[in-house]
Structures are given as structure tokens and as C-alpha cells.
Amino acid sequence: MIGESMYQELILEHYKHPQGRGLREPYDAEVHHVNPTCGDEITLRVRVGEAGKIEDVSYDGQGCSISQAAASVLHELTTGSTVRETLSVVDEFTRLMQGRGQVEPDEDVLGDAVAFAGVAKFPARVKCALLSWMAYKDAVVRSAAQ
């Protein structure tokens, strides 16, 4: 509706039609993250294949559209890439989210995740957007530790 809107079409689209939702097998690591301040939850699994390639990111959870859409976008951006590539996307996304609206996002790295730029201005929502991404990072670290 307006330029500053947090609810980019793309976010609503992902919320209404989440990509890759549901918990699947096989997986190398599973994590459960909670945002205690607002009650959002996510369970997330990663499957890492040969040469550090992410073969699947599957998840289930509950929360606001931002947290749900962020998980869906995460699934799209990570599946098929290498662990290393995805971690740099996670870093850039984290930098954007924690930049209080002052950070210029790198669209080349972030792709669709740029749609979340408007969220960064609302500290209370930043955690919603980051919930699944932090869970993903955690899961990747654990899978490597195995």
C-alpha cells in the first residue's frame, strides 16, 4: 500500500503459501527455537549432502506472518546451496535485521529476503524475522559437529 510497508506482497505470499513447510526425513540435525517475548516457535531440520550441499531444510512452527514467511524464504534461499554460501546469506540477513533500518541491504546476496528490510525498523519484530534463520544457523553448526 505504501513504500514503508512491512507487508510486502512477497511476504504475504510466502505466509499464505509457505515453501517447504513440514518436517521431513532424512535429516542431520533438528533444533527447536522459541522467542520467549512473543511466543513464536519453530522446529527446523537440515539435511547436508556431499560437498556441504544443503539438500533439505524442513520446518514447522507457529507465529506471526513475518516469522512464518521468513522460514519459507529461508527454505528457498538455502536449499541447493552450499553451507558456506548459505551462512553468508544468514550473516547478511542478520546484519540487515539488526541495522535498525540504517543498513543498505545487498540484494545480490539476499534475493527475496530483501523484502524484510522494512522489519528492521521495528526492534520488536526483528526477532520474529530472525527466529528461523538463527535456528538454521544453529542446526547447521550441529550437523557439522556430528
Binding site: 505504501i2 513504500g3 514503508e4 507487508y7 517475548t37 506471526c64 506472518s65 513475518i66 519484530r125
Partner: protein
Amino acid sequence: MTQTSFDVERIRKDFPVLSRELPGGRPLVYLDSGNSSQKPTQVIETMREHLALHYSNVGRAMHALGAESTEAYESARDKIAAFVGAPSRDEVVFTKNASEALNLVAYSFGNPANTDDRFRLGPGDEIVISEMEHHSNIVPWQLLAQRTGATLRWFGVTDEGRLDLSGLDDLVTERTKIISIAHQSNVLGTVNPVADVLARARQAGALVMLDASQSVPHHPVDVAALGVDFVAFTGHKMVGPSGIGVLWGRGELLEAMPPFLGGGEMIEAVWMDRSTYAPIPHKFEAGTPPIVEAIGLGAAVDYLSGVGMAAVEAHERELAAYGLDALRELPGLRLIGPDSLEMRGGTLAFTLDGIHPHDVGQILDDAFGVAVRVGHHCARPLHLRFGIPATTRASFYLYNTTGEIDALVRGLHHVQKVFA
């Protein structure tokens, strides 16, 4: 009722932000005064002028500016004392917010340096709060219980959103040293039956503190008539500035309490190894106080008194009635809090079926400039009690209109469409 003399359009002109346009050309519909209120020009200009022309430190300074600042600061205390019916101006302690006022009282208990029996606290002693409290009236008491080994207990909340008094006599006993509850809930809007709790407290010999952060801004409050021991409230919710809160306490108790923060202004004489303390209220005002903020709060109570607190209350009651009716017509809306006007203020919290409050609040803002608060409103245990993570809350103040409630309702319909 001063219904006829209450001119909301005239009042709105006093609040510059209400004529502001938000980015994207949205008008501002500010329904978040329970979180923090807007400020009238009268308050803003009083502060600006003081900062520009009369500022200096208070109390300690012996020059013309020092006299002007001290006079303005101490007059603010007089005004606030009068506004809440304090028997003595010396019972009005300036803090930085209501939270500090609540912590100040909590830290008075179980201090090894304390000598007054009423403030002794240890294992076996009990503190009583309620399930509807703001975190600022929960965490200080949890920390106190942790420090001292005392036990924290609490009133439950009924399904209708009232304080559950059914177990009153079991809850409040001779083990209870202090009861601290909200005068008015910041989520439910419920006004609590202070007299009932107080009567039992007096039988049991317990002290009673009221968190009046949500009542003093909205109703005439007379601390002497309430008969409790301590009352906390906060400037920013009553058209005053940030950075200033108030603790009112019975003089005799404030005098008996150990000091809390130590430093300049709160002392009588200091040696390296010991100190004696200033009389109240200064005993509890360590360091340079929020000078301009207290003066701004003085201007705020002048403003509210000018409008008349009875008129403010009546106006909000109208808004609450209108709002309750309007919300009833939305499908899938569940009100959290009393469904009638009896003993409740103009704070309406609710959920919408299948839509997360975060999304409700953000779309209202994004699309219509309607500012409400979403989340647990610093009252997470209350939300746990109702089995929900969050609510959307619209809270009204003297400058709100029924037209703004209409905008809220239109917005909620839109939200339902977006997430349909």
C-alpha cells in the same frame, strides 16, 4: 458530568502530533496511550522555556538561576501532591518512572541495614501480588524474594478479567508483609477493588502498595481516600514527559524506610565512614533529579486539572462504551477483560481468530496509521493465564474520538481481508 463543556476537538489542537501526517500520507490515529501518552504544547513549552532560560541545578545552588529552578521543581511537587490528594508534599518522591518507584519500595524490605520491623523480610514471610500485574510490579518482588528467601504469592484472575478474591483470606495472612497490586490493569482495563484487599491487609497487618500507573492518568485519584500505604505512577502516561515518575508513601513509612540510592542531595552529613540522611522526600532523591521532567509533569497536572479529571474520566467512559459496542460486531474477535463498563477503564484488549496480533498491529499501522499496541504489554503471566501469547490493545485518552474508534474497526476489517 461535564459532558457539555468537554470539547475534544479543542483538546486535540493542544497536541501537535495529532495533526501530523505519517509517512505515506497516513493520518495518525493514536490509540496507544496506555503505553505512553502524547504531550500538549503546554507541557512541551514549559520544558523548552525552562531549559532555555531558567535552568540550573536545584537545592544546592545559591544563585538566581538556582532559585528559579528550585522554585519550579519544588512547585511541581506541590502540584502533584495536590493532584493526588497527598496529605503532605513531603510524601511525594520523584523517581525516573513508575518502575523505579516500585523497586524503591521493594528494596526497602529485607535490607540488613533496616531496623523497622515492618520492613524486615526473610524466609517464612510473604509478598502478595496478582496475575494481572505489569512486569514492573512482578519482577521487583521476584528479585526481592530471591534476595531474602521470602515467598511470592499472587491473586488469580477470573475468566472475566477480575481480581479473584475468593481465596483472599488464605492468600493474605499474618505472614504477608506487603501486597502490591495494580489499581487498574494495563491490559484488561479492570479497576481493582482496593477497599476489599485493604481491609484484609489491615487485619493481617500487611502494607499495601498500588501500582496506579494506569489510574492516575485517567481518573480522579485521592491517595488519602484510598487509604493505602504506597502509590506509584509515571509521568509519560499522563501527558507528562519521559524520565519522571512518582512514589507517594505515607510519611511515617517513608521516614522509617532505609535509604535506597545513595548520593548527593539525599544526605544530611557525610563522613568517610558514615552518613546521616536528609528528611523525606529528598532522602530518596539521590543525585541531580530529573529537574525539567518534574517541571514538565507539573505542567501536565496543571493541564489535566484544567480540563478536569472528572471530565477526562467521563469522556473515556463514552469512548469505552462506544469501543466495546463496535468491537462486538467484528467476527472472531475475543475481548480479554470485562465486557461491561462497570469498574473498568478505556483499555480494550482482544484477539482475532487465526491472525497473530503482531500482524494486526502492523497492518493497522501500515495501512491506516492506527497505532495500537500488540504483544503481551509487559503482562506475560496474564496472557499465559488466558492461554494466548499476545493481544491487540487499543487504549483511549482524553484526546481520542469515536471517529478514531471507527478507523480502528475499519482497519480490523481490512486486516481480516488481508489474511483471509
